[in-house]
């Protein structure tokens, strides 16, 4: 909503002549002033000039030399290219040297055109920023002002300050200058009433005019409909002041009738519509729902197919307007129009909103109707607009107006208990102040006693229906700055920590392991999910942003791969990302989709190394990350079990894909990315991933948090190195050693793996360290040697391994 500072000051003359101050008051009252700009920026320096002589430019065709009288300054000859320079005696607008015209992004300087020096310029409206387009320079009525007068004194409408307001949807009253004036007056503690009508209020009733018949067939959609008729109209462009006002408020001037309805729209916030009455068949207006498939070509030239939910204005033959949204082209007021019918109605907000959305039209009219216009100002607005149209068109109004009230709109009255104010706000506003505030805002006090008062809500405040709404109005005018600070005395009882705490531990652990946290969208494409072998999406968006973001994810990997691919394009090779987010699964019958938290990480490029040649990450980095994460999160050691071919997730490399288990429970997977998938996402083959189901991990049975007591007796360590065929998993050998070390074995670990000189092809020397210890005695060397010999023998015979010396 754009608002004119000059107009507001005309309505409330006691307002300070300071747009900033007024903007501040509006904002403090809850009407945000988003921007403030000058209309006619550039017009300030311009002066009125009278043409005294005209001659052709000696060198340039199409240009003329115009001598103008600038009053006290004298006369000057300037070059002008406009075709509409008036004959001597005509008034034009002169911009002297140094005038800045922001609308054109120029400052007028001394110019030489074809050997003639021009110091100044005759201006068009567009150049002064008071019109979006101009057909030639401004020509003013010859008696308007004396040469030398300031243009903005002669044409005050050419200069204004325009506020761009952010009006919240609950305040339709602030979508017109009358409503804004009321609010700013109340906020300024000014007693104010709307200016009186210039003409007497129209008499109305079914018989007030016999020229038109109005029938409302849908009382819900159209509670009120009123109309007047103006005959013998002359349709022509509006006077400058009106064009300026509309242009300054962002509305394109069209013709005197349409412009007048738009002016009233901006004054009252009440949309109006003018029909060419001779195009209304049988002089009959019918307000009804459209019939399925009925067609209407609207003013924007679009032929629309209507549905039975659309409210339409019809004549006896067909729809002639989409009620409250847009008029029809067939009944549009044109230069040929002789009689106009002016509509002033109240339409149901929800009906208008649905129609506007269905037809994707957002008009000044629908914007207001859908928020709820003043249901009580119909006759006032109609009277005002009719008088205005009569004046501008030099027509005459058919006496009276037709008003049909199909449904009364009842005004609620609301009781306000004085005690409730401090109960809700924590401080008191005196009842007298509240009453004054409400009165200034248009509330009428119906009754009252020491404890409470009852107020009738004005018709222009459909947002007010409860006691708390009155309290809001009271505190809004009292000033939010005056709200004291207090701290609540009782706070909630704390419950057990929820998912948040766990998820934060996950993130902290991942950061500890040197990963960077990525934030990825929940919506992905089905193809991306398929590419990573994720479950098919079951939550499908009906209105996605685009095909690439059309379903809710069942894997975090596509988002991470997108990020990796982008990083690679930026030349970042070594990438370590993780993401914690929600995956969306199928909804159990009658319930919302299942949401589970997951963790995914990827490592790509080289492993961080210290002053030595870096090596690419591999599957064991992924395994280590998974085990590390789970150790932090569960205090347990996880296993990674190689997938059998039938269980392997297809996005992982067939040689390097493992299931992550904690105490036998599958909690995730790790592996090297399959090269085909790497190619699809445009990431390198050297990418490994970790996926963990955080829900499963959080649900693992709680482990007793007790320490293992430290051993009392010493340990002895024996190492053995076995030359193993690559077909033998080292983990199997380790398990075998653990088994044969039996009760004397405390731990077994792999501490070296060597391939190369002295080791046969497809073999590796793997070194194990066995720690022997008994809990109840110091083991003798003989005992340990005997057990270790058994361990070695068992491993050798079981795996056909050579002992490496």
């Amino acid at each position: 909503m754009k608002a004119s500072f000059n107009w507001l000051r005309a309505l409330v003359p006691t307002l300070p002549n300071d747009p900033r101050e007024v903007a501040g008051r509006l904002a403090r009252g809850g009407i945000e002033v988003e921007t403030m700009r000058t209309f006619g920026d550039g017009a300030e320096k311009c002066i009125i000039a009278r043409v005294t002589a005209l001659r052709a430019h000696p060198a340039r065709t199409g240009l003329r030399l115009v001598t103008v009288d600038l009053g006290a300054v004298g006369a000057i000859e300037v070059v002008c290219g406009a075709a509409n320079v008036p004959d001597p005696g005509g008034l034009v607008v002169f911009a002297p040297l140094g005038t800045t015209l922001p609308a054109k992004g120029m400052t007028i300087g001394r110019r030489e055109i074809g050997g003639i020096v021009s110091e100044g310029m005759l201006c068009s409206e567009a150049e002064l920023g008071v019109s979006n387009e101009s057909d030639g320079i401004i020509v003013l009525p010859a008696e308007l002002a004396a040469p030398g007068a300031r243009f903005i004194d002669a044409v005050p409408s050419a200069h204004d300050t325009i506020f761009e307001l952010g009006v919240t949807p609950n305040r339709p009253d602030a979508l017109g200058h009358i409503g804004l004036a009321r609010d700013i007056a109340a906020l300024s503690s000014i007693d104010w009433t709307p200016p009186p009508l210039k003409s007497a209020l129209l008499a109305h009733g079914k018989q007030a005019t016999s020229e038109v018949t109005v029938r409302i067939e849908d009382a819900e959609g159209c509670p009120h409909y009123a109309a007047t008729i103006v005959e013998a109209v002359t349709i022509e462009p509006s006077p400058l002041w009106l064009q300026h006002r509309l242009t300054s408020l962002g509305i394109r001037p069209i013709s005197n009738v349409v412009d007048m309805t738009n002016l009233m729209l901006m004054l009252y916030g009440h949309p109006l519509h003018a029909f060419d009455f001779d195009r209304v068949s049988d002089a009959t207006i019918v307000v009804r729902r459209a019939r399925e498939g009925e067609r209407l070509t609207t003013l924007d030239g679009v032929e629309r197919t209507l549905s039975t939910d659309d409210l339409v204005i019809c004549d006896t033959k067909a729809p002639i307007a989409l009620a409250g949204v847009m008029g029809g082209a067939a009944s549009e007021v044109t230069s040929l129009t002789k009689r106009v019918l002016i509509e002033c109605a109240y339409f149901d907000p929800r009906v208008i909103r649905r129609a506007a959305r269905r037809h994707a039209i957002h008009s000044e009219g629908s914007h207001r109707f859908e928020r709820g216009i003043d249901s009580g100002d119909t006759m006032r607005v109609l009277t005002d607009v009719t008088a205005g149209v009569v004046e501008l068109t030099r027509g005459h109004a058919v006496p009276g107006a037709t008003l049909v009230v199909a449904k009364e709109i009842r005004q609620p009255s609301v009781r306000l208990r004085n005690a409730r104010i401090s109960q809700l706000l924590g401080f008191d506003i005196p009842a007298a102040e509240v009453a004054t505030s409400l009165r200034r805002l248009g509330f009428v006090k119906l009754s009252g006693d020491a404890e409470s008062s009852t107020f009738v809500v004005p018709t222009f405040r459909p947002d007010v229906s409860r006691e708390v709404d009155l309290i809001e109005e009271a505190v809004r005018l009292h000033g939010f700055d005056a709200i004291p600070r207090a701290m609540p005395t009782v706070l909630a009882i704390q419950g057990p920590p929820g998912r948040e705490t766990f998820l934060r531990r996950v993130r902290d652990a991942a950061v500890t392991f040197g990963l960077y946290e990525a934030l990825t969208y929940s919506f992905v494409s089905p193809e991306q999910l398929e590419a990573v072998g994720a479950p098919a999406p079951t939550v499908i968006l009906k209105n996605p942003m685009n095909d690439q973001r059309s379903v809710m994810r069942t894997s975090l990997l596509p988002g991470l791969f997108e990020s990796l691919s982008r990083a690679r394009r930026h030349g970042e090779r070594d990438v370590r990302l993780f993401s914690v987010g929600t995956l969306f699964g199928e909804a159990p019958a009658g319930q919302l989709p299942l949401e589970t938290s997951h963790f995914s990480a990827l490592l790509a490029g080289d492993r961080p190394s210290y002053l030595q040649h870096a090596e690419p990450v591999d599957a064991w980095d992924a395994k280590g990350l998974a085990i590390g994460m789970l150790a932090k999160l569960t205090k347990r050691s996880a296993d990674v079990v190689t997938y059998t071919a039938d269980k392997r997730p297809l996005y992982l490399h067939p040689r390097a894909a493992g299931e992550v288990r904690v105490d036998g429970v599958a909690v995730g997977r790790i592996g090297l990315l399959h090269p085909d998938v790497a190619a699809k996402f445009d990431v390198g083959n050297d990418t490994v991933v970790v996926e963990l189901n955080l829900q499963t991990i959080a649900d693992l049975p709680k482990k007793a948090e007790r320490i293992a007591h430290l051993p009392k007796f010493p340990a002895s360590t024996r190492d053995l190195a076995l030359v193993l065929s690559d077909d033998i998993p080292a983990g199997d050998v380790l398990a075998n050693i653990v088994a044969s070390a039996g009760d004397l074995g405390e731990s077994v670990s792999i501490f070296d793996r060597f391939v190369g000189k002295g080791i046969p092809a497809d073999h590796a020397s793997v070194a194990f360290r066995v720690v022997y210890r008994a809990s109840n005695r110091t083991l003798t060397d003989a005992e340990i040697d005997a057990r270790h010999a058994a361990v070695v023998a068992a491993a050798q015979s079981r795996f056909g391994a050579q002992l490496r010396s």
């Binding site: 904002a27 403090r28 809850g30 945000e32 949807p169 609950n170 907000p349 929800r350 909103r353 859908e370 928020r371 809700l424 706000l425 924590g426 409860r466 708390v468 309290i471 809001e472 809004r476 939010f480 700055d481 709200i483 600070r485 207090a486 609540p488 706070l491 909630a492 704390q494 929820g498 998912r499 948040e500 705490t501 993130r507 950061v511 392991f513 040197g514 960077y516 946290e517 990525a518 934030l519 969208y521 919506f523 939550v539 968006l541 009906k542 209105n543 942003m545 809710m552 990020s563 982008r566 990083a567 970042e572 370590r576 990302l577 929600t582 919302l592 989709p593 949401e595 961080p608 210290y610």
Partner: protein
């Protein structure tokens, strides 16, 4: 007959031994002192006293010495050994001290070489950092974190919160709908509804999470972003307490010299409703490009929970009052870190993430 020559031979040998010992005694200090390092000292010591050393060689003659003389020689040998051992230790200590001094005085290590990290350094996302910080502030003020679904019923996301169907207020939050008729929550205010439906006051919750609005991605909009909603319900919770809690919050987030202001505004689920600005932390109120010369930055929406919301959730609005507030994590992060374009937050460029 057999005695004297024997004895004389024995005495000769004895004097040989003594001469050998005397030679050793005379030599060892110099030989030790000539050793410059611990290994050469030990080598010298072994030459003197080792199994194959010079003393052993001398003592090989001992078998030929009369048994009654052996004890005395043994005592002399031990005395010499003690002397040598003491000298060895002394020399060893000298060498070690010299070595230690040399080590201490050698060229300093090159600490300009990079540090060796225990693990590579990880980085939390700025949204997580800001979100955790805000949640922690409210947790310390007594608010408890409450979870809720990201895919929600229209009833919980809109209707129960006082957004009637076909009301322009829903324009403020253009929604994503699923084919099964649910929507992606447009705010975490759905938690308010869920908490009120499932629990009895008093309570104070903070609800962080992802929310979705159908806005085109640009420098100031993302279709998915993060919100933190907080609310408190009890008998006689007041607007002044809302101001108190939010002032405390702002002071803890931005420092004790922060001030906030309330401006009347509209959110369907609160009445009165307010937008809350903090004094611009960059220009301290003087006006700058970040606050668009106003000196204030809007960071929160807030208000007293609308009685209709209480009624929709089965709570008596005559008995209970409450406040609610909500803020966008992206906006606060953007302001804090001077992030010029919100899309940087979802692009996950390592060069961006490494800065947090």
């Amino acid at each position: 007959m057999a005695g004297p020559p024997q004895s004389s031979n024995s005495e000769n040998i004895e004097s040989n031994i003594d001469a050998g010992l005397a030679t050793l005694r005379a030599q060892f200090p110099a030989r030790f002192n000539a050793a410059e390092s611990e290994p050469s000292l030990r080598e010298e010591n072994a030459k003197l006293l080792g199994k194959k050393g010079e003393l052993t060689a001398i003592l090989k003659q001992l078998g030929a010495v009369a048994p009654e003389a052996r004890k005395a020689i043994g005592e002399r040998v031990n005395a010499l050994k003690t002397e040598v051992e003491a000298a060895f230790q002394k020399r060893l200590a000298t060498i070690e001290a010299a070595k230690r001094d040399a080590e201490l005085n050698a060229r300093p290590f090159d600490l300009t070489l990079p540090g060796r990290l225990a693990a590579p350094i990880g980085h939390a996302h700025p949204i997580s950092i800001v979100r955790d910080e805000i949640v922690d502030i409210f947790a310390r003020l007594g608010f408890q974190v409450h979870d809720g679904p990201e895919i929600e019923l229209e009833d919980y996301n809109f209707t129960k919160l006082g957004f009637p169907p076909d009301h322009p207020a829903t324009d403020m939050q253009d929604s994503f709908w699923t084919t099964s008729g649910h929507l992606l929550r447009t705010h975490t205010s759905n938690i308010q509804v869920r908490a009120m439906l499932s629990q009895k006051p008093p309570f104070a919750f903070i609800a962080p999470g992802a929310v979705y609005r159908r806005d085109d991605e640009d420098a100031t909009h993302l279709p998915m972003f993060h919100q933190i909603e907080g609310f408190m319900v009890n008998e006689r919770v007041t607007f002044a307490e809302l101001r108190g809690v939010l002032t405390e919050f702002a002071e803890r987030l931005y420092g004790r010299d922060t001030t906030i202001r309330f401006r009347p505004s509209y959110f369907p689920f609160v009445e009165p409703g307010a937008e809350v600005d903090v004094r611009c932390v960059f220009c301290k109120g003087g006006g700058c490009s970040i606050c668009k010369q106003t000196g204030w930055i809007e960071i929160l929406g807030a208000g007293m929970i609308h009685p209709a919301v209480f009624e929709h959730c089965g709570i008596d609005p005559e008995k209970y009052t409450g406040f609610a507030f909500g803020m966008g994590v992206e906006r606060i992060a953007m302001l804090r870190y001077d992030i010029p374009d919100l899309r940087m937050l979802v692009e996950n460029d390592p060069r961006f993430l490494v800065q947090f």
